[in-house]
């Protein structure tokens, strides 16, 4: 059994494109849920908007990627407004219900037969939608270090992806330690108290919903560019739930929570999967088939996360004292 292969795969995936996409989605949830207390259960809808904007505009309409990105971001703001205007005046639960429903509506819409010419139905959109981005690739060779193997294309996406994450993390840090951050954290604790001090809570909640959604949309854009393909069934509610898992794993309302959460989550998932695969291939495990590995790794990682929630409920970066106050 090749343990260094397992480790190499795990590290590559933990720092790779998928981790970046989920990290961006979780950063959005951190602003919405971690700091403002908004329960957005439809983060995947914002990612789908980003990915499909690239796919539809570049492949279906034949326009430039550089036009698709700003249009995708605008569409994301529009979605946040549509979701927020009716629900943000209501209790937090309503946003949760509406967002999860919306994310499914969007997925079913883009996979519908009626709109197949635009969205490609169940097959999605395939084609070199990220070419304009890959044309700018400054790298000339693939990378093949002992524990890190990326193609030239992936290396470029990863470079830009982590740079974006660094910039957005800095912006989040500036936001949450400013008076703006104080107001949204106040809204998370008690909206009426903040309103009674003369703050328009509705506007702050809308801003947080839009900003968090935009981060999810950037994740979706990265998805389309990196994978050069968007399929409706990539955008199932599981994406949202994994993003929440990542957020809670790293620690909600912590600036670095989503980064650490995403890296650990993908490391564990790939490590457990590859480890089981190797054990089966080496004949050490005989009661499992290779096809069982997919579901079983989720079971094992899920158990691990349950353990984390029981023994360290505040996540890796969280402050236990702060969490204890929540129970009051």
């Amino acid at each position: 059994m090749d343990f260094s292969f397992v480790l190499g795969q795990s590290i590559t995936q933990a720092l790779g494109v998928t981790a970046i996409i989920y990290c961006l989605a979780a950063m959005g949830l951190n602003l919405q849920f971690g700091y403002t207390g908004l329960l957005n259960f439809g983060q995947v809808a914002f990612a789908a908007i980003g990915a499909y904007s690239v796919g539809v505009i570049v492949i279906s309409f034949g326009a430039s990627l550089w036009a698709a990105i700003p249009i995708g971001l605008l569409a994301s703001v529009a979605l946040a407004l549509i979701l927020g205007i009716p629900t943000l005046r209501l209790r937090a639960d309503y946003l949760a219900i509406v967002t999860i429903a919306t994310s499914e509506i969007i997925r079913l819409l883009v996979r519908s037969i009626a709109l197949r010419d635009t969205f490609g139905g169940a097959n999605g959109i395939n084609g070199k939608m990220g070419q304009a981005f890959h044309d700018l690739n400054p790298y000339h060779a693939d990378i093949d270090l002992p524990f890190l193997t990326w193609t030239r294309q992936d290396l470029w996406v990863v470079t830009v992806g982590w740079t974006l994450i660094a910039i957005f993390t800095l912006a989040t840090w500036l936001l949450v330690r400013s008076p703006w951050g104080r107001v949204v954290k106040g809204i998370r604790e008690d909206e009426n108290a903040v309103v009674s001090l003369g703050k328009n809570a509705y506007v702050y909640k809308m801003q947080a919903l839009i900003l968090g959604g935009l981060l999810g949309t950037v994740g979706g854009i990265v998805w389309a560019i990196a994978k050069q393909s968007v399929q409706p069934d990539n955008f199932v509610p599981d994406v949202t739930f994994f993003s929440y898992t990542i957020l809670l794993l790293g620690g909600a309302a912590r600036v670095f929570g989503p980064i650490v959460g995403a890296i650990i989550f993908w490391f564990l998932l790939v490590f457990v999967g590859e480890f089981l695969n190797q054990m089966i291939a080496a004949g050490w495990i005989t009661f499992l088939l290779p096809t069982d590995v997919g579901p079983i790794r989720f079971i094992l990682v899920g158990l691990g996360l349950m353990g984390l929630m029981i023994f360290r409920p505040q996540g890796i970066f969280g402050d236990k004292r702060e969490l204890a106050l929540d129970a009051r």
Binding site: R182, K185, E189, D190, V195, L197, G198, D326, R328
Partner: protein, 296 residues
């Protein structure tokens, strides 16, 4: 206990000439409300014909449980909308105004169930109260040099208030770790951060131990001495007697009596409202009877 200050004497002198009838006009009202009605189904929770609050005074709004005091508060501050009625603050009509706008105009309230922001530090709770903060705008918040100066000034002011309310030792603690009484103090101090013209306290003394109650009363008197107007809800008549310049009594949604505390507590209608037919029973927790034999 220190004697009442200059403002107290002024307020009491001005109010001395006001007739002791429900809806009595005041010489210089900061808040005027007329024909306010709020119905919950068939029940009229609030049905106030007319009421005025004198500027610079401490006015107590008292009444038995379920009299509609808190509902009336919610209506005046925009947290609930009345079915009918108009009211004005500083001469400005306040109907249909969102609660945050009401607060910005200088009419700031606290809540019966204290709303300390648990996972915010005490100092951050205080800073949240400050008005007109540049750093609360999304774009400006990213550029600290735009708001740092203002933040430092607000912090200075917050620290002065925390000291006054004896919370300075708790400055860096989470508000959730404070005791119930300290939370009441924090909520009041936080409301003062916005320099309100009218501060509306919903049962500021509820659930506070007697020692802290005395200090709370002193703080409320201080607010008046600094020129603000105080309107507070209370159902314990003892508290009211000590600090208020004027008392308004609500029962079953209506204002049934008004006057200086001494007069109101002798008013047979008030005694009826509080005690029903059992006039002989003591009215206050301390056992001091406010009824003097036959109330008529």
């Amino acid at each position: 206990m220190p004697a009442n200050g200059q403002r107290a004497l002024e307020a009491q002198a001005v109010l001395a000439g006001v007739p002791r009838v429900p809806g009595a006009p005041k010489p210089d009202p900061i808040l005027v409300a007329s024909s306010i009605v709020r119905r919950f189904g068939g029940l009229s929770a609030v049905d106030v014909t007319h009421v005025e609050i004198q500027r610079g005074s401490i006015t107590a709004l008292i009444g038995p449980n379920g009299a509609g005091k808190t509902t009336f508060f919610n209506l005046l501050t925009g947290f609930d909308a009345p079915d009918e009625g108009t009211w004005s603050f500083n001469g400005r009509s306040m109907g249909k105004l969102s609660p945050y706008r009401v607060a910005r105009l200088g009419m700031v309230r606290t809540f019966q169930l204290t709303k300390a922001l648990n996972r915010l530090r005490v100092i951050d709770n205080m800073l949240l109260g400050a008005k007109g903060q540049r750093g609360e705008h999304l774009w400006a918040s990213l550029l600290p040099f735009l708001w740092r100066g203002q933040e430092a000034k607000n912090t200075e002011r917050a620290d002065v208030l925390l000291k006054r309310f004896s919370l300075d030792a708790k400055r860096a603690d989470f508000a959730g770790s404070l005791s119930g009484g300290q939370r009441k103090l924090l909520e009041m101090a936080r409301a003062l951060m916005s320099e309100p013209e009218l501060i509306m306290l919903d049962e500021p003394m509820a659930g506070v131990n007697p020692a802290l109650t005395q200090s709370l009363l002193q703080h409320i008197k201080m607010i008046r001495e600094e020129g603000s107007t105080v309107l507070f809800v209370e159902h314990d008549m003892d508290m009211v007697h000590d600090i208020s310049d004027w008392v308004i009594v609500m029962a079953q949604g209506q204002i049934i009596a008004e006057g200086p505390p001494g007069d109101v507590m002798k008013n047979p209608e008030v005694i009826d409202a509080y005690l029903g037919a059992h006039h002989e029973k003591a009215l206050t927790e301390s056992g001091q009877s406010l009824t003097t034999g036959d109330p008529t």
